[in-house]
Amino acid sequence: MDPNTAGWALVVALFLPLAGAGALTLMPASMDREIRRAAVAITAVGFALVAAVTASFDYSRAGELQFTTDVPWITAIDARFSLGMDGISLPLFFLTSLLTLLCAIYTTKPLPSPGKPKAFLSLMLLLQTGMAGTFVAFDLILFFIFFELTLVPMFFMIGMWGGPRRDYASVKFFLYTLFGSVFMLVAFLAIYFQAGANSWSITELSNMAPFGSTTFQTWAFLGVFLGFAIKVPVWPFHPWLPDAHTEAPTVGSVLLAGVLLKMGTYGFIRIALPILPDGAARFAPMIGVLAVIGIVYGALCCLAQTDVKRLIAFSSVGHMGFVMLGIAAMNEAGIQAALFGNIAHGIITGMLFFLAGSMHERYHTREIAVIGGGMLKKMPVYGVLFTYVAIASLGLPGLAGFWGEFPAMWAAISPGLGLADSYGGLYLGLVVFAAIGTVLTAGYFLWLIQRINLGEPTERWANEPLADVQAIEWVSWLPLLALILALGIFPRLLFGGQDAAVTNLVGFLGG
């Protein structure tokens, strides 16, 4: 595949899941097993294609868009169907494809009530197109459509297959995100008219930036900020997250943490920063402060949780705080760290949700106190995996999490865009509090390990046969477990591929 001409590969990879969703709906619901296998096959083919794209991507030109497609689409409003990928898009696109495949494999296990794998898997495939499209769309309208497209399937996933409070959680998820999207759309319109280039092209608008008055930049950034900050979520826009995660079915949680949240941070990096650099510079200190509040606050909330899944959900608030801290640094190292943190969190927390889901299947509870310890005795392999992923999540060097955290703090010590001169002291404070956040993070994870893994099983479980990790779980987990280690030891896998693209991007900031 020639990355200069093979735009079709991206189009196919993008719409294959959508077509697959259509195909699934045509199958009779009684063909339960076949439907599940078909979903695995569709996502596997899609992943193979994405893997081929990844392999033929020209890493020496990672800063430029490759596999591009750019054709007129809705000519009346100048919207174009514009796809492409650079070193920033590639890892996220890859992760989306991989996680969906793993989720499809995992779904060969029984679904939570009401079953209906046909509907579930169709929604998942629809979701995949939305998620993947967000990362390769280079037209604001197209981006927006992909961005919003994810809402509907996730809404139904939570609302139909979720836990007891699923109605509440799904509506909350939908309304929060939609609320932000409205402002984002208004901001997009403002950008379009202010630029006056009759174009929604992200690349073109980035090249033109900065345009408009300071007032325009400020208000437009605020609009875009609301849209993305709710998605990330940045504190204090997070309350939808714990509910959505806790109620969502396992696969929903995995994709939510693994990909959906990343659309917010990706939006900041791809759209908000390069198109509205002046607004970004004005908002950066505030973003930094909110990010660090999120880190400390998320960790504190984790300490108070009694439900494993809700704890992991809150841990996302903290980890995404590190990503936002990297963004707030407004320099190359910060963006690099943010992008790494994005992927690392997707893999690690996605994996944690898989584990939490399987834990629930076995114990039929997620209450830490009811599980009561001794998991390492009951299910040794499972216990080891749980410890491994928890330790990765607390940012241990040698595993993926570290390369999102340390570099983010390191980058924040000397923020770009002249922020170091005016806000140097503030940023030093941010670094210190972020570092304190890592202690709290270690605290809640070790405490969780202690209360779930260690000690003797309680009477309730002592004689209960609990199955250790099953074959299908191994298949859907091994890639993530391996990636956690691989990215930890070879951070170049991400940093290297992203470097040129990040340099380009920070060039737009006028650093």
Binding site: L303, T438, A442, G455
Partner: protein, 703 residues
């Protein structure tokens, strides 16, 4: 001759390989993986000896640095995977591999029959790898990685018996206390590297940072802030008060682990890092004074706590804290070589004492010295090796501990001579603490070895695999001292070994004035790392800070008197076995304070752990669930109410009502109006006339 040094990475890689292999196939092997560990560490040890030899005989050698660019970090900055091999590295390599090898051999017998035997050896390998990684790192980020990994291994091994709650708690306490210190380490490393941003693409590189500091390219803020923060990390890792609280609890781990990790190697990481960055430390008086003061406090008050312990491992743990205090204090008074020398000798004799303790614990199935007694006869080899270790720890003349501790005291004396009061502090408090050390070790030795057997077991001597390491370490606990003693040649000796020849000649501490510095001997070739310039090394004798130690009869006399006094007192109290009332436990308030460990543990739990874990966290969750969520829910309710109002009032009443009203009124009016349309022509004409008149009048008025 550098050929061997090029392979330093192999020393580091072998233990990792061992850990991986043991995990993969250990359980299938007859020795359950221990043979892999022992073989790997044996090879590592041999290679480390070669490296140590090469760097020693030719010392001072130029540092060998080898690195590959491991990953870009953005902004053109690069993270290197690299090694820095100089005398300091070689010393640490030798110490770590020696102790680790001994502990591997010892554990093969000691851990026999324990659960998770294979896992234990895999963890030993992983730990050794991590520690060596920290030691050879050529940049601070890599050092941080090693640092965090040793912390993980420490956590996993302290909680090795994870079925018990107290062991789990000890592991958590260790990890979190050191992690708290790591806030300092991480931010400090970040601050230092930020000072290097304009100077290099590799801002973590240790040699470059050291050179920049000496060349005055780092601002005072960078140095003071960076080093004080890093020192916070060193305090937690190296058990400096008040961040020492985790170390005694860490004794919950298996005893060989205590010997390797919590006595000889990992806990010295903080001291090592200070030494690695010594040229930066030496730039600022405030930094050095802070380091010295915390060291002095720790060496004295840490040692006192050992007086009231019954658990042998805890006695040794507090003595470790105290000895680490000496090392840290030495750094703070310009005793770079003295500090590392003590680190080196202490590693051997403390590992020896812990392994000896393990041998005793095996025999009597108790950690408590009150349960021992009369062990000298039953366990002759454990006895004599333990006594050698104790003498070295107490600084008895001609043992390794004597030479290294004296170097620290002398460093304090020289520092005092240059007009710094911290020098006198180190000298006098150091001497006082030596008395305390001798007393509690003598107490332990009498209670263990003299008198009658108080245990409920028939003690037996340990097997060969446990005794051999004890003997090797016992020899080293004496022999290591002669690397820097009045018997040493001018070159090579331990000080030339540690010298860093990269620094410019004729330097001195920037904060000393030249006259005083010259008078007190603080000026020398590359004095900032006890070093020397290569030029000087080429022709004529090497000039280093202190040079070959000379006898100090005054100091020797004081040391001997204190030693005899302490042993005599201990003999009077404990020579006949366990007294009815232990004198150290009958000192009233003083005992209470010591037993309460000065209240640090209690304070930390009550005012840090509980508020954060139970109060702050609850408050945060409350604010999330109730306040923020409540606000949003409030907005939601308000919107819903507004919607209902819109519907009920505006839509249903005003608009709909209006429209209906309009309809009703139309009907009413039409009812009235229809009466006008009566068909009565006269009435129409009358109205017409009246209207015309009205209009005319209106126009007239308008004019």
């Amino acid at each position: 001759m550098d050929a061997l040094l090029e392979y330093t990475w192999v020393v580091v890689a072998l233990p990792l390989l061992s850990a991986v292999l043991i995990t993969a196939v250990g359980k299938q092997l007859p020795g359950k993986g221990s043979e892999i560990g022992i073989a790997a560490l044996g090879l590592s040890w041999l290679l480390a000896i070669g490296i140590a030899w090469q760097t020693f005989v030719a010392s001072p050698v130029e540092p060998l640095e080898r690195s590959v660019d491991w990953t870009p970090l953005g902004g053109g900055f690069v993270f290197e995977l690299g090694m820095l091999v100089d005398g300091l590295t070689a010393v640490m390599l030798l110490l770590v591999t020696t102790v680790s090898f001994m502990v591997h051999v010892y554990s093969r017998e000691y851990m026999q029959g324990e659960p998770r035997y294979t896992y234990f050896f895999a963890m030993l390998g992983l730990f050794t790898f991590s520690m060596l990684l920290l030691v050879v790192a050529n940049n601070l980020l890599l050092a941080v990685i090693g640092w965090e990994l040793v912390g993980l291994c420490s956590y996993l091994l302290i909680g090795f018996y994870w079925e018990g709650k107290s062991n789990q708690d000890a592991g958590n306490k260790a990890f979190l206390t050191t992690k708290f210190g790591d806030v300092g380490l991480i931010v400090g490393v970040i601050v230092l590297s930020a000072g290097m941003f304009g100077l290099t693409d590799t801002p973590f590189n240790i040699l470059e940072i050291n050179e920049a500091a000496v060349a005055g390219q780092l601002s005072t803020t960078t140095i003071v802030l960076g080093m004080l923060l890093i020192f916070l990390g060193c305090m937690s890792k190296s058990g400096q008060m008040p961040l020492h609280v985790w170390l005694p609890d860490a004794m919950a781990g298996p005893t060989p682990v205590s010997a390797l990790i919590h006595a000889a190697t990992m806990v010295t990481a903080g001291v090592f890092l200070l030494a690695r960055l010594y040229p930066v430390v030496a730039q600022n008086q405030a930094v050095m004074a802070t380091i010295a003061i915390f060291g002095v406090l720790t060496l004295f008050f840490g040692g006192l706590l050992a007086l009231v312990q019954d658990d042998l491992k805890k006695i040794l743990a507090y003595s470790t804290i105290s000895q680490l205090g000496y090392m840290v204090a030495a750094i703070g008074v310009g005793g770079y070589a003295a500090s590392i020398f003590h680190l080196f000798t202490h590693g051997f004799f403390k590992a020896l004492l812990f392994l000896g303790a393990g041998s005793l614990i095996h025999a009597v199935h108790s950690n408590n010295i009150s349960d021992m007694g009369g062990m000298a006869k039953a366990m002759p080899h454990t006895f004599w090796t333990f006594i050698v270790g104790s003498l070295a720890l107490a600084g008895f003349p001609l043992t390794a501990g004597f030479f290294s501790k004296d170097e620290i005291l002398i460093a304090g004396e020289i520092w005092a001579g240059a007009g710094f009061f911290t020098g006198s502090l180190v000298y006098w408090v150091g001497l006082a603490a030596a008395f305390v050390t001798t007393f509690y070790m003598a107490r332990a030795c009498f209670l263990i070895f003299a008198g009658e057997n108080r245990s409920h077991h028939t003690p037996h001597e340990s097997g060969k695999l446990m005794l051999a390491p004890l003997m090797v370490l016992a020899v080293l606990s004496v022999a290591a001292g002669y690397l820097l003693s009045p018997f040493s040649p001018e070159q090579p000796n331990f000080e030339t070994w540690l010298a860093t020849p990269l620094l410019p000649a004729e330097t001195t501490f920037p904060f000393t004035d030249e006259g005083t510095a010259a008078a007190s001997g603080l000026v020398g070739d590359g004095v900032l790392a006890a070093g020397t310039s290569l030029a000087a090394a080429g022709d004529g004798p090497v000039k280093v800070l202190h040079g070959v130690p000379t006898w100090h009869p005054d100091l020797l006399a004081i040391v001997l008197v204190l030693f005899s006094l302490a042993v005599f007192l201990a003999y009077r109290f404990y020579g006949k076995g366990l007294p009815e009332r232990d004198p150290t436990l009958s000192m009233g308030r003083f005992t209470d304070v010591l037993v309460a460990k000065y209240g640090f543990d209690d304070f930390g739990y009550r005012y840090i752990v509980v508020p954060v874990r139970d109060k702050l966290s609850a408050a945060a969750t409350y604010s999330s669930n109730v306040l923020i969520d409540g606000m949003v829910a409030g907005v939601g309710r308000a919107t819903k109410n507004a919607a209902m109002t819109t519907y009920r009032v505006v839509d249903q009443q005003v608009i709909d009502g209006g429209i209906n009203g309009a309809a009703f009124s139309a009907a009413w009016w039409s009812d009235k109006l229809k009466r006008i349309q009566s068909g009565d022509v006269q009435k129409y004409a009358g109205v017409l006339v009246a209207g015309t008149i009205l209009l005319v009048l209106a126009f007239a008025a308008a004019r």
